[in-house]
């Protein structure tokens, strides 16, 4: 028997893991988050835009307190050729509904803040520790192995991110295939706040989300994005991994091509690169994995493949938070009965199926089909209708 025993161990201190842990700690459970980064957020990266609706369920005054960069009030969508482009802009502040609140975020400061909040609620964090393996006895996940340390719990929540190697060990996932994931590479560029607001016609605190369809300019499967932060710009390229080998440009070149493109270059002139990052993201409309739990184990966030990434709609973080919260609700139920078998935990799979996640995957998937219809671009009124719907996420 291991010395340390917890009600739940969560692998990965990203949004899914922290949300799950936070919720469980609120109900008095003993929970441990093991994070491989030296602080939560230090291994994480987003484009990135956070739709806050799910996190607001956990932290009602999130918008007043969290280190959010800028509230997205403008949506821009561009189609590029190598030397030119056309752009449509919509004032998203006028859009309503569940997804009206969205903000640009930087994951290192944001996740660190969220982890501090969770810690104050009673979650225990161990950072700078890589979980190497799972303790599995008779097919049941009983805990984790990190170096020489073994720790056990009633249940292990794998919120380890897109490279879900532990989920594979638990038999819940297959290895990712090149046509299932995209790689995003991003530069964070610092720019004087007043200059930034002037160039993008933004008031203080307001931000823009800009999706750039770049296939004609950069090659098959390659799209760009730009999000304004407080005094930085997040600019990057996303490409389906399987398409890179046949493309004209390498991944490294693509980021420079976007920076140098005449539609983008004037807006970032005089800025300074402060960080370069890359990350995988599940591609496409998204699909719920056939199994999200096993005996003693649950999957959440990117590890569960929960993302909508269609080039036009890019959402993962709000889905990650929702899955973390739903994990927690199931664990709380199982904590009452002491039964953490796959059967008992499968109420999580049902909860995911009944959540907004599959509905939104389908809805957003249908936008892609509409946007992919070339006739749409001959009908400006219809195009604006569709784009407005898409921009609501």
């Amino acid at each position: 028997m291991a010395e340390d025993r917890f009600d739940a161990i969560i692998v990965g201190g990203g949004l899914a893991g922290i949300a799950a842990a936070y919720r469980l700690a609120q109900e008095g459970l003993e929970v441990l988050v093991v994070e491989r980064g030296n602080t939560c957020g230090s291994k994480n990266m987003t484009g990135g835009r956070l739709y806050t609706h799910t996190l607001e369920k956990l932290i009602p005054d999130l918008l007043q307190r969290a280190p959010l960069e800028r509230r997205i009030v403008k949506e821009r969508f561009s189609l590029l050729t190598p030397s030119s482009g056309t752009t449509i802009e919509v004032d998203s502040a006028k859009l309503g509904g569940l997804y009206a609140n969205s903000y640009s975020v930087l994951r290192a400061p944001f996740d660190r803040w969220l982890a501090d909040e969770a810690e104050a609620a009673g979650v225990m964090f161990v950072c700078g520790v890589l979980v190497d393996d799972l303790i599995i006895r008779d097919g049941r996940v009983c805990g984790i192995i990190a170096g020489e340390e073994e720790m056990e719990a009633d249940v292990v929540i794998l919120a380890e991110g897109v490279n879900a190697q532990l989920a594979q060990k638990a038999g819940l996932r297959e290895e990712l295939q090149p046509d299932q994931v995209e790689v995003g590479a991003k530069e964070v560029l610092s720019l004087d706040q007043a200059v930034l607001e002037d160039r993008f016609h933004l008031a203080p605190g307001e931000g823009i989300a800009w999706i750039i369809r770049g296939e004609d300019a950069f090659g098959p499967g390659a799209n760009g994005f730009l999000y304004t932060n407080k005094d930085t710009i997040s600019l990057g390229v996303v490409t389906e991994i399987g398409k890179i080998p046949s493309a004209q440009h390498s991944m490294v070149e693509l980021v420079d091509l976007l920076k140098e493109h005449p539609v983008v270059a004037p807006l970032i002139a005089g800025s300074k690169t402060v960080e370069y990052s890359a990350h995988l993201l599940p591609c496409g409309q998204g699909a719920i994995l056939p199994r999200l739990c096993g005996d003693g184990v649950l999957l959440a966030g990117d590890a569960a493949g929960l993302a909508i990434n269609l080039g036009y709609v890019v959402r993962g973080m709000d889905l990650a938070v929702e899955s973390g919260l739903l994990c927690a609700e199931t664990v709380l139920k199982c904590h009452e009965t002491g039964d953490f078998s796959r059967d008992a935990l499968s109420s999580y799979e049902t909860a995911i199926q009944n959540s907004f996640i599959p509905r939104d995957m389908e809805r957003c998937g249908s936008y892609a089909a509409q946007l992919g219809n070339k006739a749409l671009y001959d009908d400006p009124a219809k195009l604006i209708d569709v784009l407005t719907a898409v921009m609501q996420g």
Binding site: R36, G37, N38, T39, G41, S42, K43, N44, M45, T46, L106, R107, A108, P109, F110, D111, G128, V129, L130, A146, G147, V162, N163, Q165, E175, L176, Q177, P178, Q180, V181, V183, A185, E187, V188, T232, I241, G242, I244, P245, A247, S250, M251, V252, V255, D256, T273, V274, E275, Y276, S277, A278, H279, L280
Partner: protein
């Protein structure tokens, strides 16, 4: 201002590098040159390089830990892929 190279960009990042152990095991003698080229083109950090003689070199320092090479060429050019050991690797300040 001169255009930044990928090395310039990586130089801006904060790394705690494990000089001794690479967390990625690369088959530098892999025979299928097309496969090797695929990985060279895909790595967003440009860490896989072919020299003039067509010889593959790989440097794990500067790895952004994205997993692209593993997904693209796991079991081929990439013989083994793990995250860096506890405490090592990239530390995003922005993310």
């Amino acid at each position: 201002m001169a255009k930044m190279t990928i090395e310039d960009k990586l130089g801006l990042n904060k790394f705690n590098t494990n000089e001794l152990n690479s967390h990625i095991d690369v088959d530098k003698e892999y025979l299928d040159k097309q496969e090797v080229e695929r990985v060279c083109r895909a790595c967003p950090a440009g860490l896989y390089k072919l020299d003039a003689e067509g010889k593959l070199s790989f440097d794990h320092l500067g790895c952004l830990e994205c997993g692209t090479c593993r997904v693209l060429s796991g079991g081929k050019v990439v013989k083994g892929w793990h995250y860096p050991q506890s405490g090592y690797g990239i530390s995003f300040r922005m993310g």
